[in-house]
Each structure stands twice: as C-alpha cells, then as structure tokens.
Symmetry: C2
Subunit: 324 residues, 2 copies
C-alpha cells in the first residue's frame, strides 16, 4: 500500500467535504436509490423506519459508490495503468464497472472456486479475471503479482479512504431525503459502509445515533471495540456472507471514535428479518442487508417511536436458495 | 347475481368515466405504485420497458383496486349487510381490506386446504373466514349459504363491472406517468385486469397495442377468442397460479372487442422471466406477474425499439420456494 499512498496524496481521513466531493464525482455514474417505508414493519418495530435501498444500486450494492469514487480520484498517470483487487464479492463487480466508466483496465483476482455467476458479472463489466487458490494468502500473493506485473493501483474493498468517502454518500442522500432521523443503522463487515455512514451522519445530524449491526457469529467489530484493537474475523459461518471480514486500520479508528454502539443479531433473527423484507416490502436483499432490521426487531435500543434510517446494503443473493 | 344486480343499478360496462370515478374513489385507500425501468431488461428485450409495480400495492396485488372500488360503490343499505366472496387468493385479502375500509363485515369462504399464511392475511384484515371443501361446487354452495344467511353482497374476483373499473386504474396511472407507450402487456386469468387495462388504454392511447399474456398451460383466453365462446379453464398445472381461471361473461366481451392479441408463454420462459425480475430488478413478484415479460422476451411481437408498459400484477409468492 505504500506505493499507492505515495501516488495518492489525498489519502487522509475523509470529512464531510470529501464525502460531498465524492458525491459530486460519482453522481453521474450511480443511481440515486429510493428511500422506502413499510407500514407493516413500522408496526412490528414500533418505529418509523426509512430504508435506503442500495439493493437497487448499480451492481446491486452500495460498493459501487466507493469503487467509482476511488477510480475517478486517481491521477491520470496512475489511472492509465489500471486498478486491481482480490475479491469474490460485490467489490469485484463494482471495481470492474468503475474502471469501465473511466476506460481503464480492471484486474480482478478471484478464487477458482467462485460461483460462475460472480465471474460472469465481473466479465460483463469488462473486468480481467486472474484465478487463484481460495486461501487468503494465495489471494493476496496473486494480487501482489498482478500489481507487480501491471503496475495497477490496488483498490481495497473497504480499507481505503477514497472508498470510505464513497460509501458515505449513501447516508448523505438518506439524510437529504429524511433530515430528521433519530438513528441510523448500518451493517458492519470490514467497516467501509459504517465508517462512511458515521462521517456523514455525525457531521450532518450529530443528534442521531449510529449503530453498527453485525451477526453474533461474526462479532469481531464488537470485540474490537471492547478490546481496543482489530480482532480478526471469525470462521465464515454466518449467512450474512458480506459481513465476515475484519475491520481495517482505516475503518477501525473512525468507528471507534464515532459509533454509538455495535449490536448483534442471531442467525435466526437475520433469517426472519430477511423474510420480512422479502414478503412485506417485496424487494430482494442479501442476508447482510437484513442484519440491521434483525437488530431493531430484537435488541432493546430505546428506539420506540423514533425515526430510524436503515441502509439496505445490497441485493445480490441466490434467489433459488434464499435462506428463509 | 340477480339480486345484486338489482341492488347495483350501475352495473353496466365501464368506460373511461367510470374508471376515472373509480380512481377518485379508491385513491385515498390504495398506493400509487411506482413505474420502474431496468437497463438490463431493456437490453435483453430490445424495447424500453416500463413496469407498473402492483407487487408494491396494498395486499401485494392489483386486486385491491377492484375490491375497494366495488365495496365503496355499494349503496349504504347493501353495504351494511357486508360483502362475501369465495377465493383463496389475493382477492380474499383485498376484499377483507376493502370491507374494513368501509367498516363493514367481509365473509370469506376459503377451502380448508388453504395455506395458513393466506388465512392469516384475511384474518389480519378483519375478514371472517368460513371454511369449505376445496372443490369448486363446494365453494360456490358455501358462498351461497353465507350470502343467504347474512344477505351480504357477493363480490366476484373479476366478473364484476365495478371490479373491472377498479383494475383499470392501474393502466390509467401507468399512462399518466408514461403517456407515449406503443404497447401495454398484461397477464390474463379471469380477465379483470386485462379488461380494465383495455378500457383505459384504448380510451387514452388508442394507438397503443394491448396484448393479453397467459401461460401456454392455461391458454383458455386464446382458445376463447378463437372459438368465440368462453372456454373453461384447463387443469391447474401452470406455476402462474393466478392465471388458472376462465374468463367471465363480463370480461370476455370486453377482451373480444378490444384486445389486439393474446400471446402465450411456456413454463420455462415464465421461470426465466421471473428470475430476471428477481435478480436484475431486485423486486419480488409472483409467477403470474412474470408472464408478460416472458412473452416479450420470446414471442415475435414487433416491439423492438418500442416503449412497452408491463403490469406486474402482484408479489405474493412463497419466498422459500421460488420457482426459479
């Protein structure tokens, strides 16, 4: 990362100005997603819930916000060498799309065990896939080799200030649409979305609480706050497959400074919340996106009667095998 | 029905005025559903497709439009005796909600084999369920007995001019939002939605073609037009379970007079279209709602480059077992 940091002198913690700049930068290329409400879910939660629908976002997830901001922020000389990442998830497709927008190559390192549909998505956006073994070490060394060979810029899925600033634009739009929120709930995996959400909400609506929501089976963020160090990810057992990663050294300090609390949801609670969103809102979301509603339904947060924003992070899920 | 007809002198074929009156009547009680587009589906169809999202409607289907119009159209003396129907589907829940809006009883005859979730929906809206054997004859005689005992007004799911006028309000809104459509595609089961759609579209946008879409395994509407008589429904084998019914003596004449064509979709085509809507639009629809897209993707309709409206009829489906 040292080389990239030298090439990107703007690599300081984002503030509201950088999130607004990110918003201006990405706005022509991403959707302004709708904010939906659901009377049935309001009845069940006792709150008035405003869902920011990033499942309707391009590539089906908020990840495109950070990826597009990172790619469009690159200096021309760095940009023309392309970008790279190792990811089998939404960030891979998001980075491929971001690179196509800028007209530069995207080198995506993916485990050869990746589902064909995910490879097809990356290729559909013009990404160039390098396959590797599925272990983390193999993925990192394959990515390092790609970067060495191409001199592409590595864009991390979350531990990158340009990415964090991009993810913060979702909460920025949510607060523009619903200014008087009492709380915002966002899922936390690597912490990119939660960091960006915190920076936006605490700048624009300091009175609002921000609660990070994670599966009890992937409670590394809660542990990290308790132990004041980045606790490594637990074995990937939760159905909320987007939230299995540990915090990074750029997301952890932001979360530690600003978050009001981290709340946990059990697997059964996540399944139930997912079913509610599918059945009552009639929209498709991935299990990770259901974690904040699972928290709101089951943890005592003191939000009865409150106006609560929830960021539905994405909608990429195998609809043949919904875990409900 | 004779008694009801005497009680409802307005029982003549609806025209644009009656559909506008229905719209004014139901507007405070139903959602104005959004019209969504999807670049990926435009690419696959070669058309510009505008989806009228009745899956987001109250009770999860367009049926509430017709039910609310019928119930709010009743004279006070008839209304206070309540309404009744025999249905295990969306119309049952829709009529229960409509009755609750007016503050009158709804007597719903349902087969004792109905899924618990459907009974719960009816009861959730305050409907009073009478269980019966699942055969059609048993359902009709149970409904007749309920009507005899309560003097409630029977509200048919589709063969009723007030219901047809209500269903026509979906296309009315679609054309208000997208005035320059070249064609509108709607599913056809009993023909309530298609009849109402025809009356709205042919009055407001005569140049637009209207195509009724049905499963090849439930092609009774196509047969009825060919044979110029109402052909009875085929065995209920299609996954598009909302489209298994035959036309009625009020819907058939409207369809015969105005429809441009009836087009068929095979089961595999319906499954594929359903998957596309779930995966690409990230919204939940029932199999019946996917039939028009299945037709547009697979039949040569001459609509390349055209602006096509599709009415997504509803979103009530078992999300644990999506047929994709």
């Amino acid at each position: 990362m040292n080389k990239n940091r030298r090439e990107n002198p703007m690599d300081r913690r984002p503030d509201l100005d950088s999130i607004r700049a990110a918003h201006d930068r990405i706005r022509p290329h991403v959707h302004r997603t709708p904010v939906l409400t659901c009377a049935a879910i309001d009845g069940l939660t006792g709150a008035r819930v405003f869902f920011k629908c990033e499942n309707f976002q391009k590539v089906g997830a908020f990840k495109v916000r950070g990826a597009v901001n990172a790619v469009l922020s690159l200096a021309d000389d760095a940009a023309e060498r392309g970008v790279a990442t190792h990811s089998s998830g939404n960030h891979a497709a998001a980075l491929a799309l971001a690179a196509r927008i800028r007209g530069i190559p995207a080198h995506i390192v993916m485990p050869h065990t990746s589902p064909a549909v995910k490879c097809a998505a990356v290729e559909g956006y013009g990404g160039q896939i390098t396959f590797c073994d599925p272990e983390q070490a193999a993925r990192e060394s394959a990515a390092a080799e790609v970067v060495r060979a191409t001199r592409a810029t590595l864009v991390h899925p979350y531990n990158d200030h340009r990415v964090i600033a991009g993810q913060g634009t979702a909460a920025l739009e949510l607060i523009e649409d619903v200014p008087d929120l009492d709380a915002v709930l966002a899922p936390v995996g690597g912490g990119g979305l939660l960091s960006g959400t915190l920076l936006s909400v605490k700048a624009l609506r300091p009175a609002a609480r921000v609660i990070g929501c994670e599966p009890a089976l992937a409670d590394d963020a809660a542990q990290s706050l308790r132990e004041n160090r980045i606790v490594t990810a637990r074995p990937p057992t939760t159905i909320a497959d987007g939230l299995r990663t540990a915090l990074g050294d750029k997301t952890f300090p932001i979360i530690r400074e600003f978050v009001d609390s981290i709340a946990l949801a059990e697997e059964g609670e996540i399944r139930h919340a997912l079913r509610l969103i599918l059945e009552r809102m009639k929209i498709v979301v991935e299990p990770s996106a259901a974690v904040p509603l699972a928290v709101l339904l089951n943890r005592p947060l003191g939000l009865r009667g409150a106006r609560v924003g929830i960021i539905l992070s994405g909608g990429n899920v195998d609809v043949s095998h919904l875990p409900v």
